[in-house]
């Protein structure tokens, strides 16, 4: 059953998969909490254009995807300043630009379909040692960035205006964060595929939000769900010959359904508790008011 470990490509798939599993919720938790989940989708579409450009020109596709994503990160910050009220409009514009560029490039070269397929759906056998090195280096950079600025990122996600008023360099932090997001998505798509990479960013976080009782526990749960999804997904992918992106994200969706169900049962109990708590408190307050009134007399 565990014979897959004998294959070097499978080891690479697992190493790359685990790095991605850590990376996606690291970025995802802040994206989801700031209601910017669509940025994941945006960079996925831009990465598709980048991959198509790489295959078309014969350059290493992950490199072109990275380059184009960084360009999109800068474009996003510029557009956001122009359309302050409509951040989602800036995202929609870049999604359209990325996808249309990808369609044009794919149309131009008909020979690239096989290779492109592995980028669209993710691939276990296609991860080269070069890919793994890039995933590891980028992953390390992003994790270091988030660890260094964790409390600032949390503050800005929670309350950007008050964070800014206390002297936190919010604009600089936002730009760095968007760049880290671009990096994360470009390298993650090698494992999960372009079509599903933003799902791995958002779904483990969404599941964790159902059951987390603090920011700390929510983050921890998001990591657990994400790593579990990648390990199980790759396992199914190898044994049942499924596209890894699909089996990984299906596992994550299943976890989300469980978490939501758990919350429903638990929240019903929690509400009951809160209710009795509240009525007891108002009783106590009523009593204190009576005592106070009695003292007045």
């Amino acid at each position: 059953m565990f014979d897959f470990w004998a294959y070097a490509f499978m080891q690479r798939a697992y190493f790359a998969g685990l790095i991605v599993a850590i990376l996606c919720p690291t970025i995802g938790i802040y994206l989801v909490l700031r209601r910017l989940s669509m940025i994941g989708e945006m960079f996925a579409h831009v990465s598709l254009a980048g991959v198509a450009l790489g295959i078309f020109t014969g350059v290493y596709p992950l490199a072109t995807a990275l380059g184009l994503s960084l360009g999109a990160a800068v474009a996003l910050e510029t557009l956001r300043r122009t359309y302050r009220v409509f951040t989602d409009l800036a995202i929609a514009i870049i999604i359209s630009a990325g996808l249309s560029l990808a369609v044009v490039l794919i149309g131009l070269s008909r020979a690239l379909t096989v290779d492109l397929h592995s980028y669209l759906f993710g691939s276990v056998i296609a991860i080269s040692p070069q890919d793994l090195r890039l995933v590891a280096v980028v992953g390390l950079l992003v994790v270091i960035f988030v660890l260094l600025f964790q409390k600032e990122l949390f503050y800005v996600a929670f309350d950007e205006e008050v964070a800014r008023s206390s002297g936190i360099p919010v604009d600089m932090l936002n730009l760095l964060f968007v760049v880290a997001t671009a990096l994360t998505i470009s390298v993650s798509m090698r494992v999960v595929g372009i079509l599903l990479v933003s799902s791995l960013i958002t779904i483990p976080v969404a599941a964790a939000l159902q059951v987390g009782r603090s920011f700390r526990s929510t983050t921890l749960l998001a990591y657990i769900f994400s790593v579990f999804s990648v390990i199980c997904g790759l396992f199914f992918s190898y044994h049942a010959n499924l596209a890894p992106g699909g089996s990984i994200v299906l596992t994550a969706v299943a976890l989300f359904v469980f978490a939501a169900g758990y919350r429903k049962i638990f929240a019903a109990g929690g509400k009951l508790l809160a209710h009795t708590d509240l009525s007891r408190r108002s009783e106590e307050e009523g009593l204190q008011a009576n005592v106070a009134a009695a003292k007045d007399y």
Partner: protein
Amino acid sequence: MPEPVLELAKITFYYGDMLVLDNVSMTVFSGDFLGIVGPNGSGKSTLLKIIAGLLKPASGTVRFFGTERENFRQWTRIAYVAQNVTSFNYGFPATIGETVMTGLTASLGLLRRPGRRERQLVEESLASVGLASLKNRLIGELSGGQQQRVFIARALVASPDLLLLDEPTVGVDVEAKERFYELLAELREQRGLTLLMVSHDIGVVAEQVRSVACLNRKLYFHGPPAEFWTEDVLCQAYGSAARVLHHKDH
């Protein structure tokens, strides 16, 4: 003579072409409790945002503790409590303790993580607003009045000298409102805080504060509440309808 905490000189501000603040000057001294009142759209929140360093005036100067805004670096001496209804997301998975801890982000500085001393400060700050027992509850589970106390605790945790409050009692019931003003009075006494509060609720504000500033694009009045009622400023700042409103209150 108390030290001036805040000096505004000839502040002008535009949103696009619209003049929002016209030549506003005032000085706030240490230990004061200033209520800024005015009708909707009078620029009072804008003025508070300028003071909080969120907006830059088109012209005029702002001095904090005697230092000009451009050279001022001690932002942790000023704490800003935004209108909670607008600035925060109720589903956010943060506990009360985690929320108050964010108030120490700037004073810790980049790259430093909170330790035992910081956790101690958070507990003390929560205790001072009477919420120590709720440290591990999620912020979204509290009532509006309790949330407001949490945001006050967050503002106080870094021991500021000047506290800025934007409509702090919006969406809070009458009883919680009263307790909130009691808390402010306590904090001012114990910590020697200078308070600046924006509110549309003239009647309540005039009862609580030590001085009133009446704003409607221009500054119409700045002085003790007693004089505020006797002079004809309400009429000027609010238009003739204010007179009716004033008489109804009494």
